[in-house]
Amino acid sequence: MQFRHERLPCGLDVIAEIHDAAHSASLGFFVKTGARDETDAVSGVSHFLEHMVFKGTDRLSAEEINLRFDAMGASANAFTSEEDTVYYAAVLPERQHEAVELLAAIMRPALRAEDFDTEKQVILEEIRMYDDQPPFGADDRCRAAFFGSHPLARSVLGTVESIGLLPVEAMREYHRRRYAPGNLVLAASGAVDFAALVESARRLCGDWEPLTAGDRTAAFQAATAAPPVELITREQAALEYAVRMSAGPAETDNDRFAAKLLAVILGDESGSRLYWDLVDTGQAEHAACHHHDFLDAGVFVTQLSCEPEDTPGLLGRILDLYAEATGGLTAAEVDQARNKLLGRVVLAGERPRQRLFSVGLEWAHTGRYRSVADDLRTLDGLTRDDLERVLTAWPLAGSAATVLAGPLTTATLTA
């Protein structure tokens, strides 16, 4: 595998991880914008804009865009998170040019008022769909409680109210500022012709208006006192869904790798401490712990779903498990988790689409390239001491935000 990078005069970074033996090429625009870059007045605009990008340019209708992606046999889609908006297409190598051309075209959408009004209904449906599904908004509420006044507190989807009130002019202005070429990365992986990719980018994106995006980071200090447990009552739900967030290493912290290995030991979907104690025993439907790193903050997210009346007891049990882990990790479990992750990294390395997301997001966030070999080396170098250091510096049993969604009410919880 070979890595290439070139920055165009307009500020657009073009990067590729080239794997000649691959059967496909994955291509994507990684826009350094997401919920954290919004204000109250435009809450949800990043995600809504992601939909609008597919609704047409000055020259192309929405229908033509859909037709063209399907006609090239592309597996194309997009997603929006707190920090990123990503548009991607996986195609056979001979379709690289067509795919880049279409992806580049839609980065400059028309944002027509009538399309905006129709698509608003789709966004509202998406909000309602998630509101009907576990964890019934507990994840959004927990992030809001944990991050408080920090930009990472914001909801990606926004609310029925914020989307309902959003004017199209605000989206146009947001797009102009946030989709400037210096704020985008064009990434590719797999069987990529890099010279042709750069040439396409020059021709298609070279005249985009360069604007400087401001600093996106903000100092984050986790609250020393945990906010009160919040409840979202859904009487009809069969289970109770709990989300808990406590502080962890940020993306800028080298301990982010140790934090991920630690989370595998504590709360991977299978074979972890939470799994054996709560899921294997049939006490919980799901119990897991993940580490997420952002530009300026990190979190350990604990998820639990179980019978409503068992929730307080099992949450307490999870804190006990976290406390037991401090000073109590064994060499065998560190090795087991490491071997498991090494296997995952190797297998993911064979899929151009998975590599696109790893390579693109890493570059968009850190401006650096990490190869599969880099990831394997980092994992190999981690020791039990590294994990113990993370556990001490970021006590998982300590201050955290907790939100429960399900049949429990304040009365039943305190009874």
Binding site: E63, T118, E125, R128, A237, D280, Q336, G343, R344
Partner: protein
Amino acid sequence: MKQTLQTATLDNGITLLGEFLPGVESVSVSFHLPAGGICDSLMPSSSGHPCCGLATLTGELMLRGAGSRDSRQIVADLDNAGVQWSQSVSMSHGSIAGAMVARQLPEAVAIFADILRRPTLPDDQFEPARQTVLQDLAGTEDDPAHRTMLALRQAHYPSPWGLPSEGRSADVEALTLADVRRFASSFIQPDGMIIAVAGRIDWPDFVARMEQLFGDWPAAPVPPVTNGDRGSRRCHVPHDSQQTHVAVAWSVPPYRDPESLKVTAALSVLGGGSSSRLFSEVREKRGLCYSVSAGYQTHRDLAAAIAYAGTTAERAQETLDVMLAEIGRLPGSITADELDRVKARAKSGLVMQQESTAARAGALARQWYHLGRVRTLAEDLERLDALSVAGIESWLADHPPLDLTAVSLGRDPLEVPDAISA
């Protein structure tokens, strides 16, 4: 590109399938036993209750001890070998599969062989295993789209094909360890078993290894399933939610029928990509919903075309009406451009499958189950190329989508006409 497909059969009936994929370091192996949820119907339980969920519970308990390993040792050994593995039970099969760096294959298949041939089905793990299955069932209660599809299958397929392979809580509550042991001894056996391997494989070594691990396993053929009645063709599941979910199904030929490619192509025109008719008419033009799609679901002898949408209660009737209109309009209206897009998407899918050893191993096993053979990539591409609008239209004219099963889940029932007309 030259493709290397291999097949072999062991004396006890186990089929071995292999494909060498160039350019990968990994290998994936997939075991499929005809011990799926359908076998629940062949097993009256000791207590006289129906046994819906017995295959799933057996699968769960089999992971809790095998050979000399307990459940923790099974997981520790697979994790230490870097194996990404999964176990599942569908209507037709119980499956276990793993993907790993090629040198770990011998370790992984030895563990899988223990799980399949020497499960200890330990007494002290029965109750936790049952609770785990019950927890999963409670979780699906909170998934409205999943519940809609369960209701659709139940209404559409003849019994017992419409039953949920994951089980029913009341049945699972009544199952005993003796039921699980009887199920395992009756159905966890080599007759009809398929083992597929794809990636960086050494075929002669693999065949020898399978012969050594499974060659002396005696077969005990499974009796055939007798199909019963179909459910009522209209069903509404009351559910207090913001969205109403609607799903419709009609019968189409199964995958092994030579006509099935015409069916899947027609369904792809209807609801396959973002340029499909349902996506375009329901979501893009009218903004009625976020998720809408159509697809194909096949068993060996039965198959269904399925269309689905989830939308706000107030707009559910309009959504269903537009869906039904598009389904009714399909015969006689497919264009050459639409078929070209279907072909382009299918071709990409087939070629990109070569990049995933896990996807390839699964596909080999599925093809063998349905066809009794494996098609090469070249053959699949040729079949796609041979598809014509006239061929699809001729089939649709003879088999228009009528006699729909329709279900909804939400606050209010919807109106469904008795038949749809073009």
